[in-house]
């Protein structure tokens, strides 16, 4: 018998609406799957009591004919970067030990207002800094997909717990954040759909900040349509975030019409890398054929500064991180390690509280912002960023969306790439440009590599044109017919 945690979000929504099962029944199956999957280390904090309470409220509403909409009664997992009122919020860092926010992030509040049921707070790379979930203070997450010889793999990162909750069928959807690829790269490595909205589409208020000019929240789900429904519940203008865009939230699901006749799809030639696995190139070519076969027009395009997006990101993101993480000083919340003076207390607290990758990035950021180096590094990187944005603008005069691979490799073994920071950074080579330019992007599972591991294709669209992005992503999804399942499913 199908367990309810195996349902897609649309199936769960329709089943709830038809009265086929209750939100409590759906939630109980998800809680059971969450507990059965504990070996994967998906959750930092499980909140089954909150889940049961909110599911009960959803059922009570429905009994009175007062459904809050598509998300009412749907269980979701929340990346532990979103502050949740009264619930431990760690950012997977030792430095936030015991932090119980007295407020709720706008994104999770929006989901609560839509009736969604929080299952728990998921594991991530510390402060969302990583591409493997290996930097978490709470230990790595194991990918639901195993290697060809059964070896444990990373789920990607930084949203490793949220992606695995969806891949392992713990729940139909989850929340992540994407600063340089932290939703799309893990989605590619785990065979699920992950999307980053346009910068400004989702409020950043109450989300632990990493790099403020790049951070965006977004959904994970098992289908493109499910992602559209989740995004609609998350998005919207928020006066509490000055970078939140005062634009209306469209009906994203309605944009998925199945008709891509005449859609202009750009293939940026600079995304072909030396040494990229042949199967990723082949899948990319196949993706273009799929879209062409459905009536799209495929156009080769050029984005000459693509190769500079990643190094520029590794100046801008650490610089912003070093400023944002200055607040962790042992005074107002979290860890404190005593010292003889205030300065010593700060340094002891931050020395003990930050892990190796966070320390590296804060120090890089401090260095590139320090007197004498600011122009050479930070200003230079922001100038390069302007050139990258201008190139995208120019290309989007000729095409509606871009098609690229999501990641340059499939999932890799736990512990790999840890001794070479730059090798790890290269995981985000195809995802970072969209962050640098603030563009929406989505990864759709499109095929398997020779070891049977999932690979994703990415669609990048114009600012605030998530509708066309979903439309194109749906066309890939339908053509790819991706039905492969991971080894660990529903905790079995």
């Amino acid at each position: 018998m199908t367990k309810l945690n195996d349902l897609t979000l649309v199936e769960a929504r329709d089943g709830l609406a038809a009265g086929a099962f209750s939100a409590v029944e759906l939630t109980e199956d998800c809680i059971e799957a969450m507990e059965a999957a504990r070996d994967l280390n998906i959750f930092i904090t499980e909140t089954p009591e909150i889940a049961r309470e909110r599911a009960g409220e959803a059922d009570a509403r429905r009994a009175k004919g007062e459904s809050l909409g598509a998300m009412d009664g749907i269980p979701v997992a929340i990346k532990d970067l979103f502050c949740t009122d009264g619930v431990l919020t760690t950012a997977a860092s030792h430095i936030l030990d015991g932090f119980h926010p007295p407020y709720e992030s706008t994104i999770t509040q929006n989901l609560r207002d839509a009736g969604a049921v929080m299952l728990g707070k998921t594991n991530l790379d510390e402060f969302a800094m990583g591409s493997s979930n290996m930097t978490s203070y709470y230990g790595p997450v194991t990918n639901a997909w195993a290697g060809a010889n059964g070896e444990d793999l990373v789920p990607g990162g930084s949203s490793g717990g949220s992606v695995t909750a969806v891949a392992a069928h713990v729940c139909p959807g989850s929340l992540g954040t994407d600063t340089g690829g932290s939703i799309r790269q893990p989605a590619s490595l785990c065979g699920v759909v992950g999307m980053k909205p346009t910068y400004g589409r989702c409020s950043r208020w109450g989300t632990v900040a990493f790099a403020s000019s790049l951070d965006q929240a977004g959904p994970f789900a098992r289908t493109v349509r499910d992602s559209a429904i989740l995004l609609e519940a998350m998005a919207g203008h928020d006066p509490k975030d000055t970078t939140s865009a005062p634009v209306d939230v469209p009906d994203f699901e309605a944009a998925i019409t199945g008709n891509i006749q005449g859609l202009k799809v750009g293939i940026p030639k600079e995304y072909t890398l030396d040494g990229m696995p042949a199967e990723i190139q082949a899948l990319w070519d196949q993706g273009a054929e799929w879209l062409k076969g459905q009536g799209a027009e495929i156009k080769p395009v050029s984005l000459p500064h693509t190769k500079y997006a990643l190094p520029a990101y590794y100046i801008v993101a650490p610089a912003e991180a070093s400023s944002n993480l200055a607040r962790y000083d042992g005074v107002r919340y979290g860890l404190r390690v005593d010292g003889d003076s205030l300065d010593e207390m700060y340094a002891n607290t931050r020395g003990a509280g930050f892990g190796a990758e966070v320390r590296r990035r804060v120090m890089i950021g401090t260095y590139v912002l320090s007197a004498g180096y600011y122009d050479a590094y930070y200003v230079k990187a922001q100038q390069v960023r302007t050139k990258i944005l201008d190139e995208f603008k120019q290309v989007f005069e000729d095409v509606d969306v871009l098609l690229t691979p999501t990641a340059p490799n499939a999932a890799f073994p736990i512990g790999a790439k840890m001794d070479d920071p730059v090798a790890m950074y290269l995981n985000d080579i195809f995802t970072v440009p969209a962050n640098m330019a603030g563009l929406p992007g989505i990864s759709v599972p499109a095929g398997l590599d020779a070891d049977g591991l999932p690979l994703g294709l990415q669609i990048v669209a114009k600012p605030f044109d998530e509708e066309t992005m979903f439309l194109a992503a749906d066309a890939i999804e339908r053509a790819a017919e991706f039905t492969a399942k991971p080894k660990y499913l529903g905790g079995q």
Binding site: P101, P311, V331, D338, T366, G438
Partner: protein
């Protein structure tokens, strides 16, 4: 340029992160690896290019300068590792 252990000690001080002496040299190697890699940006001609300040052309929003959220100091300081009444407590600053 290349960072030495002393440079790393200075950066660690600026960042207020206690780094044990024996970790300074390996950390210098890691930071030099990253900085050496980002140096490739010097190839890009950026003469006359304005540095980015925002990805979207957005007008800075303003609001009335008035209190909109207040009145619960106990919750505000509720997470403090050390507090005295409604104040955060820190090691002695003034002798």
């Amino acid at each position: 340029m290349s960072l030495e252990s002393d440079d790393v000690r200075r950066i660690a001080f600026l960042a207020r992160i206690n780094v044990p002496d024996e970790e300074l040299a390996p950390l210098a190697d890691e930071l030099n690896g990253i900085i050496g890699w980002v140096e490739q940006l010097s190839e890009v001609d950026t003469v006359g290019v304005a540095p980015m300040t925002s990805v979207t052309e957005m007008v800075m929003k303003q609001r009335e300068d008035e209190v909109s959220d207040a009145g619960y100091p106990d919750r505000v300081v509720g997470n403090a590792p050390d507090r005295v009444k409604d104040f955060y407590a820190v090691p002695k600053v003034v002798e």
